[in-house]
């Protein structure tokens, strides 16, 4: 009897020992994977299934197939949101070169440089809500700084956020402020890793100015550029807080983006259309997927090439 149990224990022990190398990583990954499954993967598929229903979030669900998607296609508010998302995406990319420029400018040794660096990094540290409020007041009709400035220069003040032609751009500028700071920090750390011997060698070969930047520095900053582009693209696509704080999608819906429109339709004070909101979320998800799979593919390729 006793010998059987010890034998079994030894065998169990042996099984663990044999598979330890395979099992250990799985066990380490399990908690994270479980969280990811419950809070990310399952909700994605739930959203997809809800998007095929007409549902107010409380009562009975009615299957309508692709009805929500068909409606989206002829919904001017959705098209405006989509267009605004594209504008965001394009203009937000300005944060990358602007961040690089400031990083190079700040990458020098003068007295108090740390203070200047912190000051430039400051907008990224404060909350997006605060950024939104600051810019709302900056643009505000009557007492806003920009309004006063345009009034002085042209005679009539321009209230950026009240004008559908400028409002989206006004919000993007507010978003760029912290985003540039973020890119700047990425590039500052990248610049620390630029090999001095290569710079030295290039200098001996007579490279300087733009040529030095373009052929010697920037290629070495590729990892930083990659991360800066990734965070900027994702930041542009999930822009929500600034729109919510600064205009609530107005004036008359001209500054909506997909994420805000989804919130309006499904969750806001007047939104009782869970299915329709879910359909918007699915569209946004697929747009994000295009970029995210691109990034993942590039990372995978870089790693396997090594």
């Amino acid at each position: 009897m006793t010998s059987v149990t010890t034998n079994a224990a030894a065998r169990r022990h042996g099984a663990w020992r044999r598979n330890q190398r395979r099992l250990a990583p799985l066990m380490f990954i399990a908690p994270g994977a479980l969280m990811f499954l419950v809070y990310v993967v399952v909700p994605i598929f739930r959203s997809m299934s809800i998007s095929f229903y007409d549902w107010d979030g409380m009562g009975a669900m009615k299957w309508i197939g692709f009805g929500n998607y068909v409606e989206l296609w002829s919904d001017p508010a959705f098209l405006v949101s989509l267009e605004n998302n594209l504008i965001w995406l394009v203009l937000y990319m300005l944060a990358v070169p602007a961040g690089l420029f400031i990083a190079i400018f700040l990458n020098q040794n003068v007295r108090g440089i740390r203070i200047y660096k912190s000051l430039f990094f400051f907008p990224f540290v404060i909350s997006q809500v605060v950024v939104g409020l600051i810019f709302t007041w900056f643009y505000a009709p009557d007492f806003g700084l920009l309004f006063k400035l345009t009034q002085m220069l042209t005679g009539t003040g321009t209230a950026i956020l009240a004008d559908e032609r400028y409002a989206t751009y006004g919000i993007i500028v507010a978003g760029l402020w912290p985003q540039i700071a973020y890119c700047m920090i990425l590039y500052l750390t990248g610049l620390n890793n630029v090999a001095p011997d290569q710079v030295e060698a290039a200098r001996l070969d007579g490279a300087k100015g733009w040529k030095m930047l373009w052929y010697v520095i920037i290629p070495q900053l590729r990892p930083a550029t990659f991360i800066a582009v990734v965070v900027t693209v994702i930041g542009a696509l999930r822009s929500f807080d600034l729109v919510s704080i600064m205009t609530q999608g107005g004036p008359y819906g001209s500054t909506r983006v997909l994420s805000y429109y989804m919130y309006e339709q499904a969750l806001s004070e007047y939104g009782y259309r869970m299915g329709y909101g879910a359909a918007i979320a699915v569209v946004l998800f697929f747009i994000m997927m295009v970029f995210i799979s691109g990034f993942i593919w590039k990372m995978y390729r870089d790693e396997t090439e090594r």
Binding site: D54, D56, G57, M58, G59, P76, Y139, A140, P141, D142, A159, I160, L161, A162, D163, T247, Q248, G250, P251, Y252, G253, E264, L267, S268, E269, Y270, G271, Y272, R273
Partner: protein, 413 residues
């Protein structure tokens, strides 16, 4: 027993825990009364109820006012309290239609509320049944700066033409005739309500918000033509779409604007900013179509029993208590608003007195655009009004859009 917290999510968690511990005799109440006056009013109400019913144990949770609007959907379906506050009219329709509110017609019948709360009966009735108890409402109308009116020698306008004529005088003197801030959309809804109520009357307005009339109807167009008389010459504060309603208040206080169409809740912040009964005045919205019955906006706040309430017996007792003349007098005194019960007494504040007289002689009471129209129509509508107020020349385009929305929204039922 008060559990007050600003975060709705936290409150929900607390409620879930207390909800699990509930047994007979416990009465859980959720309210959105996070502002000082409403909070105090409910404290008084609950204390009084406890005194009258010592065997009932009230558990009260206060939600953040804005967060409540989204939280209510979760707690009604997940873990419902015994009582929750909300709003009358079509604003409660989604919950009634989804079967989340309990029919409380018996409370109305047993307490003779159909006489004492008569003015609010239509807005509490869906499918011939009553779904809650109204406890307070307030008037809308035009608040004006008396000093500015005196300076320009303008009398209180009785008709729309008088009003527009006064506007021309203000404009010539560099003062905005009227101010508003429509960033949150609803102040634009108030403007449309009054323009339509005065142009076409109460029944037409109700039919329109219930989707029975096309937005492209010439009578609707007429409303916007009248409205354009104010907007096209620039009598309204510029860039109002970018400012909140509170941010427009200083215009009236500082005399940069002469009038402000608002609800009575604007009086408190206006007085806090330095206006007094000598400088701040009120008058009903002027007449547009002569001879048409005068209807007013009077949004009503209500209490309901969720369908999943665990203690509906005591909840109904509470509703009957809330409907009584004495309690409504007491809480509205604190709220600075008007009691719905016609046996109650109205506070001595001149604005309340004026509002009470105005509403009790009105030919009809509308709730407000976002409570009379279904949620989706309200959103699209108010967005259209906001656009019209900035670009009155786009009227046809806007009305076409609203009509397309009407066709889609009301057919879903």
């Amino acid at each position: 027993m008060v559990q007050s917290t600003r975060a709705a999510a936290l409150a929900l968690a607390v409620a879930t825990m207390t909800g699990m511990a509930a047994h007979a005799g416990d009465l859980t109440i959720f309210t959105d009364t996070s502002d000082p006056a409403p909070k105090q009013a409910f404290q008084t109400l609950i204390d009084d109820f406890q005194k009258a019913n010592p065997d009932v144990h009230v558990k009260w949770t206060v939600f953040d006012h804005e967060g409540y609007k989204t939280a209510i959907r979760n707690f009604l379906t997940a873990d419902a309290p015994d009582l929750a506050n909300w709003y009358a009219g079509n604003r409660m329709a989604p919950f009634v239609k989804a079967g989340q509110f309990m029919d409380v017609s018996d409370v109305w019948d047993q307490n003779g509320l159909k006489t004492s709360l008569k003015s609010a009966l239509p807005s509490m009735t869906i499918d011939g049944k009553q779904w809650g108890i109204p406890y307070t409402y307030y008037q809308w109308g035009i608040y004006y700066n008396k000093d500015v009116f005196k300076k320009f020698g303008v009398d209180i306008p009785k008709t729309w033409d008088d009003f527009i004529a006064a506007c021309a005088k203000f404009k010539a003197g560099g003062v905005d005739c009227t101010t508003t801030g429509t960033k949150a959309f609803w102040p634009a809804g108030g403007w449309f309500d009054y323009m339509d109520l005065r142009t076409n009357g109460y029944q037409f307005h109700m039919d329109l918000t219930n989707g029975k009339i096309a937005w492209t109807d010439p009578r609707v167009k007429k409303v916007f033509d009248e409205w354009a008389k104010l907007l096209k010459p620039g009598y309204l504060t510029a860039n109002s779409a970018a400012i909140d309603w509170q941010d427009a208040l200083p215009n009236l206080v500082q005399g940069k604007a002469a009038t402000y169409l608002m609800g009575n809740f604007a009086v408190a912040p206006l007085k806090a900013a330095g206006m007094t009964n000598d400088t701040l005045g009120f008058f009903p919205f002027p007449e547009i179509t002569p001879g048409i019955g005068r209807a007013e906006d009077a949004p009503t706040d209500t209490m309901h029993i969720p369908a999943k309430a665990k203690n509906p017996t005591d909840a109904k007792k509470f509703l009957a208590f809330l409907a009584s003349a004495d309690e409504q007098t007491k809480i509205n005194d604190i709220l600075g608003q008007l009691p719905v019960n016609n046996q109650s007494k109205v506070g001595s504040d001149p604005f309340l007195q004026q509002g009470f007289t105005m509403l009790s002689t009105a030919d009809g009471l509308a709730q407000f655009f976002d409570r009379d129209a279904p949620a989706e129509m309200a959103k699209i509508g108010m967005e259209g009004f906001q656009e019209f107020m900035a670009h009155p020349d786009r009227v046809d385009e806007i009305l076409k859009r609203l009509e397309a929305a009407r066709k889609r929204i009301y057919q879903q039922g």
